[in-house]
């Protein structure tokens, strides 16, 4: 079974994103991680491979040189090979353009299942999986918290969270599935594993390798401005004995904060 997992490298979720003059100051971002939802996708691919005792897990990313770290992390978790699409023409690419590039690359390889994170935590577009399914003309189930591949590997049953309940969807394979938190608990990519990962097959492709011209994958959207969230105001301590303080707190919650 050939499983392709789309991976994105994103800024570390614990850092504050430096914003200046309506733009993100990329040079100031020092730490990057694998998009956490993509980790669920990688883990699920590995579990499927382990369950069937055969198969190949291929990671694919579109990103600059530094995105190599993310692929190595995924390889350290146990993926078999990685494809890195790195082309200067893709700088400032948007979600749809990225999906086009990914689709062109995935068409070049055998696949029975495509797994993505439900969204990347940097831009929060949540478009790649959906766009990819459309471009490859495949069925698609999003925000999946449980995935069962049939014995014959021809179909899958997926559970997804919906308001107030869960939905169970059956689909034929190949299909695109996007992973939600809860799907699994990703394994740890050990230090040794990351070192060994450098020996696994690693292919770098440019747009030319995919037979794409830069204008074919030009972004169709433009980020006009990025504004950081307003700074959180300092807390307030209400003085006085509990009886009056509680009254004052309720008054403030009702009249000032307007939350009750």
């Amino acid at each position: 079974m050939n499983i392709v997992v789309c991976v994105k490298q994103v800024p570390d979720t614990e850092i504050r994103i430096p914003v200046q003059n309506g733009r993100i100051v990329e040079e100031e971002i020092k730490q990057y991680v694998v998009n956490p939802y993509d980790e669920f996708a990688i883990e699920e691919a590995l579990r499927i491979k382990e369950r069937f005792g055969e198969g190949k897990v291929t990671l694919i990313t579109v990103g600059p040189e530094r995105a190599r770290e993310a692929l190595l992390t995924g390889l350290a978790m146990g993926a078999d090979e990685a494809i890195h699409i790195n082309d200067p023409a893709l700088e400032g690419s948007d979600a749809f353009a990225t999906a086009r590039v990914l689709a062109a690359a995935i068409k070049k390889m055998p696949y029975d299942l495509i797994l993505c994170g439900k969204q990347a935590v940097d831009q929060d577009n949540a478009q790649i999986g959906i766009a990819l399914a459309e471009l490859l003309d495949l069925p698609h189930v999003s925000v999946v918290t449980k995935l069962e591949i049939a014995e014959d590997k021809k179909s899958a049953k997926a559970e997804r969270e919906v308001e107030g309940g869960k939905e169970v969807i059956e689909t034929t394979l190949p299909a695109v599935i996007t992973a939600q938190k809860g799907l699994n608990e990703p394994r740890y990519p050990s230090f040794k594993g990351i070192r060994m990962a450098r020996q696994k097959p690693y292919t770098v492709w440019t747009l030319a390798d995919l037979g794409l011209k830069p204008e074919e994958v030009a972004p169709q959207t433009e980020v006009v401005v990025i504004n950081p969230p307003p700074e959180r105001k300092a807390g307030r301590i209400i003085q006085g004995d509990p009886e009056t303080a509680v009254k004052e707190l309720v008054r403030l919650l009702r009249e000032e904060a307007k939350v009750i």
Binding site: I15, V33, R187, Y188, S190, F191, K192, G193
Partner: protein
């Protein structure tokens, strides 16, 4: 994961020397509360060709206090077996999610606490501290990730800085170039992360012209003193350093603290590095302070359960906590203050005091805080 071959480690850990006397398990503090039986684990390794660490959930209960290794009459290292088996789990990636996140955080952010590296020096706000890579200083102060980020331990680090300043110590810190020493990572089985960190520090330390490194935490102290190979400076725990300053007359605690105080020996300072007297000497130099001992003190000190990576691994049987037992022992002495000298002991014991609702009766304070309180 596939089971590991016992032949890979039994020679290195000299397990064949084991006579199954059981002193290891007899001395093991967590064997009081969980199924961890280190003697039996050694036996299993000796009689089988392979061991499946995955079937031993209790491997994550060990605090690496090392009582087993220190008491073994045959010089076997049972504690090393736990770390080896954890190592196999780390390599397979199948580890508790809290351990995974701590290890990943050390790799990405240089601290196990999921904190941004950019915030590493926020604890120094308002204190005038040299940045040692730009300004030379005699002493390199190493506050530990806990001192840098944990709000409670930040107070300890700040107290220590005040004490240094009062004694006229010429000191500096590595600031944002400081990263986790990876002592706990090594004990969680992530040996390669530790080795990578040692390499990083060799480079950083080659630019530091200090005479001494003074560590706030016994864990960092143990790493630098015993596990980092040759370093260009002397490595001290801060209690040793303060004891020297007091003996030289550079530091004089003058303000009375008329309280009964008992001292909890941290495993990595006491039983593992035999530093028992200096912390007591520092406490006794405080006017008015009466030091009382718990029955289990010095080599016999009961582990707080915060070491060996246990800050990030709950372990089994969480209903019973050694820290609770320890706090009860402290109360039995009639002490009003439980003095500690380790950030993990601070976290575990203070938590125990709160959980047991004993805040009115017993206060957990670091020796550094007591000294700072006693300054003129």
């Amino acid at each position: 994961m596939s089971p590991i071959q016992t032949s890979e480690y039994i020679h290195e850990l000299t397990l064949r020397e084991c006579i199954q006397c059981g002193k290891c398990t007899g001395g093991c503090p967590v064997s009081l509360k969980t199924s961890l039986n280190i003697r039996r684990l050694i036996y299993e390794s000796l009689i089988s060709d392979t061991v499946s660490p995955e079937s031993h959930e209790e491997l994550w209960d060990c605090t690496t206090c090392k009582t087993c290794t220190l008491r073994c009459p045959k010089g076997v290292d049972p504690c090393g077996l736990i770390v080896t088996l954890r190592g196999a789990l780390v390599e397979s990636g199948r580890i508790p999610s809290t351990v995974r996140d701590a290890l990943k955080s050390i790799t990405v952010r240089g601290n196990p606490l999921n904190m941004p590296p950019q915030d590493r020096t926020l604890w120094t706000e308002g204190l005038d501290i040299k940045y040692i890579l730009e300004e030379e200083a005699e002493v390199l102060f190493f506050p530990c990730c806990m001192g840098a980020y944990d709000p409670r331990v930040q107070k300890v680090a700040r107290s220590l800085v005040k004490v240094f300043q009062e004694a006229g110590v010429d000191f500096g810190i590595l600031g944002e170039d400081e990263i986790c020493c990876a002592h706990e990572a090594r004990r969680l089985g992530e040996k390669e992360l530790f080795e990578g960190t040692v390499e990083q520090y060799q480079e950083i330390f080659s630019e530091v012209k200090a005479e001494k490194l003074v560590a706030l935490s016994p864990h960092c102290f143990n790493a630098f003193k015993n596990e980092y190979g040759e370093l260009p400076f002397q490595v001290l725990h801060y209690t040793q350093f303060l004891a020297d300053l007091i003996k030289q007359g550079k530091l004089k605690p003058v303000r009375e603290i008329p309280k009964k105080v008992t001292y909890h020996d941290p495993c990595y300072l006491g039983k593992q590095n035999k530093i028992f007297d200096e912390p007591r000497f520092v406490l006794q130099s405080i006017p008015g302070l009466e030091l009382v001992e718990m029955e289990r003190c010095r080599e016999w000190s009961l582990c707080c359960e915060g070491g060996g990576g246990r800050m990030w691994a709950e372990g089994t049987n969480i209903e019973v906590r050694l820290s609770h037992e320890r706090v009860r022992e402290a109360l039995e002495t009639g002490a009003e203050i439980l003095a500690v000298a380790c950030p993990f002991c601070m976290a575990m014991l203070e938590d125990a005091v709160k959980t047991l609702g004993l805040e009115e009766k017993l206060k957990v304070l670091d020796i550094a805080e007591l000294v700072a309180m006693s300054l003129g």
